[in-house]
Amino acid sequence: MTKYGWLSLLLSVCMINPCYAHRVKIFAWVNGQAIVGEVYFSGGIKAQQAKISLLDAQQTLAVTTTNRKGEFHFDGLDAKSYQLKANAGPGHQATFSIDAQEFGPVSRATATSSHQLNSSGNSTASTSIPTPTPSSFDSAAVVSLPSLDTLSAVTNADSSAASSTEVNQCQAQTRAAIAQAIIPLRKQLDAFEAEIRFRDIIGGLGYIAGLFGLWSMMRQRRV
Protein backbone atom coordinates (compact mmCIF):
# COMPACT_ATOMS: atom_id res chain seq x y z
CA MET A 1 0.00 0.00 0.00
CA THR A 2 2.64 2.50 1.03
CA LYS A 3 4.77 1.66 -1.96
CA TYR A 4 1.89 2.18 -4.34
CA GLY A 5 0.91 5.32 -2.47
CA TRP A 6 4.27 6.89 -3.18
CA LEU A 7 4.29 5.72 -6.74
CA SER A 8 0.84 7.12 -7.40
CA LEU A 9 1.82 10.42 -5.81
CA LEU A 10 4.83 10.68 -8.07
CA LEU A 11 2.89 9.59 -11.13
CA SER A 12 0.04 11.99 -10.50
CA VAL A 13 2.58 14.78 -10.28
CA CYS A 14 4.07 13.64 -13.59
CA MET A 15 0.76 13.34 -15.34
CA ILE A 16 -0.88 16.66 -14.54
CA ASN A 17 0.87 18.58 -17.24
CA PRO A 18 4.04 17.05 -18.54
CA CYS A 19 4.56 19.46 -21.42
CA TYR A 20 4.71 22.71 -19.46
CA ALA A 21 7.85 24.29 -18.23
CA HIS A 22 9.25 27.49 -16.91
CA ARG A 23 11.62 29.14 -19.25
CA VAL A 24 11.39 32.32 -21.22
CA LYS A 25 11.96 32.31 -24.95
CA ILE A 26 12.23 35.25 -27.30
CA PHE A 27 11.91 34.89 -31.04
CA ALA A 28 12.21 37.72 -33.57
CA TRP A 29 12.51 38.28 -37.27
CA VAL A 30 12.98 41.17 -39.68
CA ASN A 31 10.00 42.60 -41.51
CA GLY A 32 11.10 45.32 -43.93
CA GLN A 33 12.85 47.83 -41.70
CA ALA A 34 11.27 46.59 -38.52
CA ILE A 35 12.13 43.85 -36.08
CA VAL A 36 9.06 41.92 -35.04
CA GLY A 37 8.98 39.23 -32.42
CA GLU A 38 7.29 37.49 -29.55
CA VAL A 39 8.13 36.37 -26.04
CA TYR A 40 6.70 33.25 -24.47
CA PHE A 41 7.25 30.77 -21.70
CA SER A 42 8.12 27.35 -22.99
CA GLY A 43 4.83 25.53 -23.05
CA GLY A 44 3.42 28.29 -25.20
CA ILE A 45 2.05 30.74 -22.63
CA LYS A 46 2.70 34.28 -23.88
CA ALA A 47 4.71 36.64 -21.72
CA GLN A 48 2.74 39.86 -21.40
CA GLN A 49 4.34 43.16 -20.39
CA ALA A 50 7.82 41.73 -20.74
CA LYS A 51 10.49 44.39 -21.13
CA ILE A 52 12.34 44.14 -24.43
CA SER A 53 15.63 45.97 -24.99
CA LEU A 54 17.17 46.46 -28.40
CA LEU A 55 20.93 46.44 -28.13
CA ASP A 56 23.71 47.25 -30.53
CA ALA A 57 27.12 46.19 -29.19
CA GLN A 58 25.99 46.24 -25.53
CA GLN A 59 24.39 49.68 -25.98
CA THR A 60 20.66 49.90 -25.44
CA LEU A 61 19.02 51.65 -28.38
CA ALA A 62 15.36 51.24 -27.54
CA VAL A 63 13.09 49.65 -24.96
CA THR A 64 9.55 48.42 -25.38
CA THR A 65 7.13 46.03 -23.72
CA THR A 66 5.14 43.14 -25.12
CA ASN A 67 1.41 43.38 -25.68
CA ARG A 68 -1.27 40.97 -24.50
CA LYS A 69 -0.26 38.42 -27.10
CA GLY A 70 3.39 38.61 -26.06
CA GLU A 71 4.35 40.43 -29.27
CA PHE A 72 6.60 43.44 -29.79
CA HIS A 73 8.14 45.43 -32.63
CA PHE A 74 10.87 47.99 -33.28
CA ASP A 75 10.34 50.12 -36.40
CA GLY A 76 12.56 52.12 -38.72
CA LEU A 77 15.85 50.35 -38.13
CA ASP A 78 19.08 50.38 -40.12
CA ALA A 79 20.31 47.10 -41.53
CA LYS A 80 22.69 46.16 -38.73
CA SER A 81 23.23 43.32 -36.32
CA TYR A 82 21.18 43.66 -33.17
CA GLN A 83 20.74 41.82 -29.91
CA LEU A 84 17.37 41.58 -28.24
CA LYS A 85 16.99 41.03 -24.53
CA ALA A 86 13.68 40.06 -22.98
CA ASN A 87 13.05 40.45 -19.28
CA ALA A 88 9.80 38.78 -18.28
CA GLY A 89 9.50 39.36 -14.59
CA PRO A 90 12.00 38.68 -11.83
CA GLY A 91 14.98 36.75 -13.06
CA HIS A 92 13.42 35.52 -16.29
CA GLN A 93 15.60 36.67 -19.11
CA ALA A 94 16.25 35.55 -22.66
CA THR A 95 18.30 36.89 -25.54
CA PHE A 96 18.10 36.70 -29.31
CA SER A 97 20.38 38.02 -32.06
CA ILE A 98 19.41 39.43 -35.42
CA ASP A 99 22.02 39.35 -38.13
CA ALA A 100 22.51 42.30 -40.47
CA GLN A 101 22.03 39.98 -43.45
CA GLU A 102 18.45 39.33 -42.43
CA PHE A 103 17.54 42.88 -43.38
CA GLY A 104 18.35 42.39 -47.06
CA PRO A 105 19.35 45.36 -49.23
CA VAL A 106 15.90 46.33 -50.55
CA SER A 107 13.21 46.88 -48.01
CA ARG A 108 10.34 47.17 -50.48
CA ALA A 109 11.12 43.67 -51.70
CA THR A 110 8.95 42.17 -48.98
CA ALA A 111 5.86 43.97 -50.20
CA THR A 112 6.01 42.52 -53.69
CA SER A 113 7.58 39.29 -52.64
CA SER A 114 5.16 36.72 -54.02
CA HIS A 115 5.08 38.28 -57.46
CA GLN A 116 8.84 38.64 -57.66
CA LEU A 117 9.40 35.08 -56.60
CA ASN A 118 7.41 33.94 -59.63
CA SER A 119 9.22 36.23 -62.03
CA SER A 120 12.61 35.03 -60.84
CA GLY A 121 11.35 31.52 -61.33
CA ASN A 122 10.41 32.38 -64.91
CA SER A 123 13.76 33.92 -65.67
CA THR A 124 15.38 30.74 -64.44
CA ALA A 125 13.34 28.80 -66.91
CA SER A 126 14.31 31.06 -69.83
CA THR A 127 18.06 30.95 -69.17
CA SER A 128 19.68 27.57 -69.43
CA ILE A 129 19.67 25.66 -66.17
CA PRO A 130 22.16 22.88 -65.52
CA THR A 131 19.85 20.72 -63.44
CA PRO A 132 16.15 21.36 -63.82
CA THR A 133 14.17 20.03 -60.88
CA PRO A 134 11.80 17.48 -62.30
CA SER A 135 9.50 16.96 -59.35
CA SER A 136 6.74 19.44 -58.78
CA PHE A 137 6.97 18.41 -55.12
CA ASP A 138 9.96 20.71 -54.47
CA SER A 139 8.29 23.98 -55.28
CA ALA A 140 9.19 27.67 -55.53
CA ALA A 141 11.95 27.87 -52.92
CA VAL A 142 14.01 25.10 -54.52
CA VAL A 143 13.60 26.48 -58.01
CA SER A 144 14.53 30.02 -57.05
CA LEU A 145 17.71 29.07 -55.19
CA PRO A 146 19.75 27.84 -58.18
CA SER A 147 18.46 30.82 -60.13
CA LEU A 148 20.67 33.14 -58.11
CA ASP A 149 23.81 31.33 -59.20
CA THR A 150 22.66 31.05 -62.78
CA LEU A 151 21.81 34.71 -62.98
CA SER A 152 25.07 35.91 -61.56
CA ALA A 153 26.91 33.63 -63.95
CA VAL A 154 25.01 35.25 -66.80
CA THR A 155 25.89 38.69 -65.44
CA ASN A 156 29.59 37.89 -65.34
CA ALA A 157 29.47 36.73 -68.93
CA ASP A 158 27.61 39.80 -70.17
CA SER A 159 29.25 42.27 -67.77
CA SER A 160 26.60 44.81 -68.63
CA ALA A 161 25.81 47.34 -65.90
CA ALA A 162 22.09 47.44 -66.52
CA SER A 163 21.52 43.71 -66.18
CA SER A 164 23.77 43.64 -63.14
CA THR A 165 21.55 45.97 -61.15
CA GLU A 166 18.53 44.07 -62.31
CA VAL A 167 20.05 40.83 -61.10
CA ASN A 168 21.03 42.38 -57.79
CA GLN A 169 17.51 43.58 -57.28
CA CYS A 170 16.16 40.22 -58.27
CA GLN A 171 18.47 38.49 -55.82
CA ALA A 172 17.47 40.80 -53.02
CA GLN A 173 13.81 40.27 -53.70
CA THR A 174 14.23 36.54 -53.84
CA ARG A 175 16.17 36.57 -50.62
CA ALA A 176 13.50 38.62 -48.91
CA ALA A 177 10.79 36.35 -50.22
CA ILE A 178 12.56 33.26 -48.94
CA ALA A 179 13.18 34.90 -45.58
CA GLN A 180 9.49 35.72 -45.35
CA ALA A 181 8.46 32.24 -46.41
CA ILE A 182 10.54 30.44 -43.80
CA ILE A 183 9.41 32.55 -40.83
CA PRO A 184 6.63 30.11 -39.84
CA LEU A 185 9.13 27.28 -40.11
CA ARG A 186 11.64 29.08 -37.91
CA LYS A 187 8.92 29.84 -35.38
CA GLN A 188 7.92 26.23 -35.30
CA LEU A 189 11.51 25.11 -34.88
CA ASP A 190 12.03 27.57 -32.05
CA ALA A 191 8.93 26.36 -30.24
CA PHE A 192 9.94 22.76 -30.83
CA GLU A 193 13.33 23.40 -29.30
CA ALA A 194 11.72 24.87 -26.18
CA GLU A 195 9.34 21.99 -25.71
CA ILE A 196 9.85 19.66 -22.79
CA ARG A 197 9.95 16.11 -24.00
CA PHE A 198 8.80 13.12 -22.03
CA ARG A 199 12.12 11.35 -22.54
CA ASP A 200 13.88 14.27 -20.82
CA ILE A 201 11.62 13.95 -17.80
CA ILE A 202 12.11 10.21 -17.61
CA GLY A 203 15.84 10.67 -18.16
CA GLY A 204 16.03 13.16 -15.31
CA LEU A 205 14.17 10.85 -12.97
CA GLY A 206 16.54 8.07 -13.97
CA TYR A 207 19.52 10.27 -13.12
CA ILE A 208 18.06 11.03 -9.69
CA ALA A 209 17.47 7.35 -8.96
CA GLY A 210 20.96 6.52 -10.20
CA LEU A 211 22.75 9.23 -8.22
CA PHE A 212 21.03 8.39 -4.96
CA GLY A 213 21.57 4.71 -5.65
CA LEU A 214 25.27 5.39 -6.16
CA TRP A 215 25.46 7.39 -2.95
CA SER A 216 23.71 4.55 -1.13
CA MET A 217 26.13 2.02 -2.60
CA MET A 218 29.19 4.08 -1.58
CA ARG A 219 27.87 4.37 1.95
CA GLN A 220 27.35 0.63 2.20
CA ARG A 221 30.84 -0.16 1.02
CA ARG A 222 32.38 2.16 3.59
CA VAL A 223 30.59 0.55 6.53
Binding site: V13, Y20, F41, A47, G89, H92, D200, I208
Partner: protein, 201 residues
Protein backbone atom coordinates in the same frame (compact mmCIF):
# COMPACT_ATOMS: atom_id res chain seq x y z
CA UNK B 1 11.84 30.94 -9.06
CA UNK B 2 14.65 29.98 -11.40
CA UNK B 3 16.78 33.02 -12.11
CA UNK B 4 18.29 32.86 -15.60
CA UNK B 5 21.99 33.11 -16.45
CA UNK B 6 23.26 36.61 -17.12
CA UNK B 7 20.94 38.43 -14.74
CA UNK B 8 22.91 38.46 -11.51
CA UNK B 9 26.19 40.18 -10.70
CA UNK B 10 29.36 38.19 -10.04
CA UNK B 11 29.59 38.76 -6.24
CA UNK B 12 26.03 37.51 -5.80
CA UNK B 13 26.80 34.45 -7.91
CA UNK B 14 29.97 33.67 -5.94
CA UNK B 15 28.26 34.07 -2.56
CA UNK B 16 25.40 31.87 -3.78
CA UNK B 17 27.78 29.12 -4.88
CA UNK B 18 29.77 29.28 -1.62
CA UNK B 19 26.71 29.16 0.64
CA UNK B 20 25.09 26.40 -1.42
CA UNK B 21 28.29 24.35 -1.19
CA UNK B 22 28.32 24.73 2.59
CA UNK B 23 24.62 23.86 2.81
CA UNK B 24 25.10 20.81 0.61
CA UNK B 25 28.04 19.63 2.70
CA UNK B 26 25.98 19.93 5.89
CA UNK B 27 23.06 18.20 4.17
CA UNK B 28 25.19 15.28 3.02
CA UNK B 29 26.59 14.86 6.53
CA UNK B 30 23.10 14.76 7.95
CA UNK B 31 21.80 12.39 5.29
CA UNK B 32 21.35 9.02 6.97
CA UNK B 33 21.44 5.81 5.02
CA UNK B 34 17.82 5.04 5.79
CA UNK B 35 16.79 8.40 4.39
CA UNK B 36 18.46 7.98 1.00
CA UNK B 37 15.52 6.41 -0.91
CA UNK B 38 13.17 8.95 0.61
CA UNK B 39 15.48 11.82 -0.33
CA UNK B 40 15.63 10.43 -3.87
CA UNK B 41 11.84 10.38 -4.14
CA UNK B 42 11.57 13.97 -2.91
CA UNK B 43 14.28 15.05 -5.32
CA UNK B 44 12.31 13.46 -8.15
CA UNK B 45 9.16 15.25 -6.94
CA UNK B 46 10.97 18.58 -6.95
CA UNK B 47 12.35 17.83 -10.41
CA UNK B 48 8.92 17.28 -11.93
CA UNK B 49 7.04 19.84 -9.80
CA UNK B 50 8.42 22.69 -11.87
CA UNK B 51 6.73 21.22 -14.94
CA UNK B 52 3.33 21.89 -13.43
CA UNK B 53 2.85 25.37 -14.54
CA UNK B 54 0.06 27.93 -14.35
CA UNK B 55 -0.50 31.14 -16.29
CA UNK B 56 -0.89 33.92 -13.78
CA UNK B 57 -1.48 37.50 -14.87
CA UNK B 58 1.31 38.68 -17.10
CA UNK B 59 3.66 35.90 -16.02
CA UNK B 60 3.45 32.22 -15.20
CA UNK B 61 4.35 30.22 -12.11
CA UNK B 62 5.09 26.63 -11.24
CA UNK B 63 5.05 24.47 -8.15
CA UNK B 64 8.22 24.14 -6.10
CA UNK B 65 7.55 21.73 -3.19
CA UNK B 66 10.49 23.09 -1.22
CA UNK B 67 8.33 23.51 1.88
CA UNK B 68 7.51 19.80 1.96
CA UNK B 69 11.14 18.88 1.42
CA UNK B 70 12.25 21.15 4.25
CA UNK B 71 9.59 19.86 6.60
CA UNK B 72 10.50 16.23 5.94
CA UNK B 73 14.26 16.41 5.49
CA UNK B 74 15.65 19.61 7.03
CA UNK B 75 19.23 20.26 5.95
CA UNK B 76 19.12 17.37 3.49
CA UNK B 77 16.98 19.73 1.37
CA UNK B 78 20.22 21.23 0.05
CA UNK B 79 21.59 18.16 -1.80
CA UNK B 80 18.07 17.08 -2.77
CA UNK B 81 17.26 20.42 -4.39
CA UNK B 82 20.73 20.86 -5.87
CA UNK B 83 20.57 17.59 -7.80
CA UNK B 84 17.10 18.35 -9.13
CA UNK B 85 18.18 21.87 -10.13
CA UNK B 86 21.24 20.60 -12.00
CA UNK B 87 19.04 18.21 -13.97
CA UNK B 88 16.43 20.90 -14.65
CA UNK B 89 19.14 23.21 -15.95
CA UNK B 90 20.63 20.50 -18.17
CA UNK B 91 17.42 18.96 -19.49
CA UNK B 92 14.98 21.86 -19.55
CA UNK B 93 17.24 24.95 -19.57
CA UNK B 94 15.54 26.23 -16.42
CA UNK B 95 17.78 28.73 -14.71
CA UNK B 96 21.36 28.08 -15.73
CA UNK B 97 24.61 26.46 -14.67
CA UNK B 98 26.43 29.55 -13.40
CA UNK B 99 23.44 30.71 -11.43
CA UNK B 100 22.89 27.26 -9.92
CA UNK B 101 24.36 28.22 -6.55
CA UNK B 102 22.04 31.18 -6.08
CA UNK B 103 18.98 29.27 -7.25
CA UNK B 104 19.79 26.39 -4.92
CA UNK B 105 20.29 28.76 -2.01
CA UNK B 106 17.05 30.64 -2.77
CA UNK B 107 15.02 27.44 -2.68
CA UNK B 108 16.87 25.26 -0.16
CA UNK B 109 17.50 27.85 2.55
CA UNK B 110 13.76 28.54 3.06
CA UNK B 111 13.25 24.76 3.16
CA UNK B 112 15.83 24.41 5.93
CA UNK B 113 14.38 27.36 7.88
CA UNK B 114 10.91 25.85 7.62
CA UNK B 115 12.22 22.50 8.75
CA UNK B 116 13.80 24.08 11.82
CA UNK B 117 10.77 26.22 12.67
CA UNK B 118 7.89 23.86 11.93
CA UNK B 119 9.27 20.48 12.97
CA UNK B 120 8.84 21.15 16.68
CA UNK B 121 5.18 21.95 15.96
CA UNK B 122 4.44 18.70 14.14
CA UNK B 123 2.63 17.07 17.08
CA UNK B 124 0.95 20.26 18.19
CA UNK B 125 -0.92 21.26 15.06
CA UNK B 126 -2.85 19.20 12.55
CA UNK B 127 -1.01 17.91 9.49
CA UNK B 128 -3.30 19.96 7.28
CA UNK B 129 -2.25 23.26 8.86
CA UNK B 130 1.35 22.11 9.09
CA UNK B 131 1.43 21.35 5.38
CA UNK B 132 -0.17 24.63 4.42
CA UNK B 133 2.23 26.65 6.56
CA UNK B 134 5.25 24.80 5.18
CA UNK B 135 4.21 25.11 1.54
CA UNK B 136 3.12 28.73 1.57
CA UNK B 137 5.85 30.19 3.77
CA UNK B 138 8.54 28.48 1.68
CA UNK B 139 7.28 30.32 -1.39
CA UNK B 140 7.14 33.67 0.41
CA UNK B 141 10.66 33.21 1.77
CA UNK B 142 11.98 32.12 -1.62
CA UNK B 143 10.32 35.14 -3.23
CA UNK B 144 12.05 37.39 -0.72
CA UNK B 145 15.42 35.79 -1.42
CA UNK B 146 14.89 36.09 -5.19
CA UNK B 147 14.09 39.80 -4.78
CA UNK B 148 17.13 40.19 -2.59
CA UNK B 149 19.45 38.53 -5.13
CA UNK B 150 18.07 40.73 -7.89
CA UNK B 151 18.36 43.82 -5.70
CA UNK B 152 21.98 43.06 -4.84
CA UNK B 153 22.61 42.74 -8.58
CA UNK B 154 21.31 46.23 -9.24
CA UNK B 155 17.54 46.00 -9.69
CA UNK B 156 15.38 48.47 -7.81
CA UNK B 157 14.31 46.53 -4.75
CA UNK B 158 10.82 47.92 -4.25
CA UNK B 159 9.57 47.32 -7.78
CA UNK B 160 11.19 43.88 -7.99
CA UNK B 161 9.94 42.86 -4.58
CA UNK B 162 6.46 44.04 -5.51
CA UNK B 163 6.54 42.02 -8.70
CA UNK B 164 7.80 38.95 -6.89
CA UNK B 165 5.20 39.26 -4.18
CA UNK B 166 2.28 39.84 -6.49
CA UNK B 167 3.37 36.90 -8.60
CA UNK B 168 3.99 34.68 -5.62
CA UNK B 169 1.10 35.25 -3.23
CA UNK B 170 -1.40 33.17 -5.27
CA UNK B 171 1.32 30.60 -5.81
CA UNK B 172 1.99 30.55 -2.07
CA UNK B 173 -1.70 29.84 -1.43
CA UNK B 174 -1.78 27.14 -4.11
CA UNK B 175 1.43 25.53 -2.93
CA UNK B 176 0.15 25.67 0.65
CA UNK B 177 -3.03 23.80 -0.32
CA UNK B 178 -1.13 21.16 -2.27
CA UNK B 179 1.49 20.76 0.47
CA UNK B 180 -1.34 20.39 2.96
CA UNK B 181 -2.80 17.52 0.91
CA UNK B 182 0.60 15.90 0.58
CA UNK B 183 1.36 16.08 4.30
CA UNK B 184 -2.08 14.72 5.19
CA UNK B 185 -1.51 11.93 2.66
CA UNK B 186 1.94 11.11 4.05
CA UNK B 187 0.58 11.19 7.57
CA UNK B 188 -2.02 8.60 6.59
CA UNK B 189 0.06 6.38 4.36
CA UNK B 190 3.46 6.51 5.98
CA UNK B 191 3.31 8.38 9.30
CA UNK B 192 6.72 7.08 10.37
CA UNK B 193 8.27 9.28 7.66
CA UNK B 194 6.86 12.39 9.24
CA UNK B 195 7.87 11.33 12.73
CA UNK B 196 10.79 9.01 12.16
CA UNK B 197 12.81 11.25 9.89
CA UNK B 198 12.30 14.18 12.17
CA UNK B 199 13.22 12.09 15.17
CA UNK B 200 16.76 11.35 14.02
CA UNK B 201 18.19 14.81 14.43
Amino acid sequence: MHIADGVLSTPVLVVGIALSAIGTAIGLRKLQDAQIPFAAVLSACFFVASLIHFPLGPSSVHLVFSGIIGLLLGWVAFPVILIALILQAVFFSFGGIVVLGVNCLNMALPAVVIGLLLRPLRNKISPRVLGFLAGSSAIVLTGTLVSLSLYLSGDAFVSTANAVFIANLPLAALEGIIASFVIVFINKVKPEVLNGVQHHD
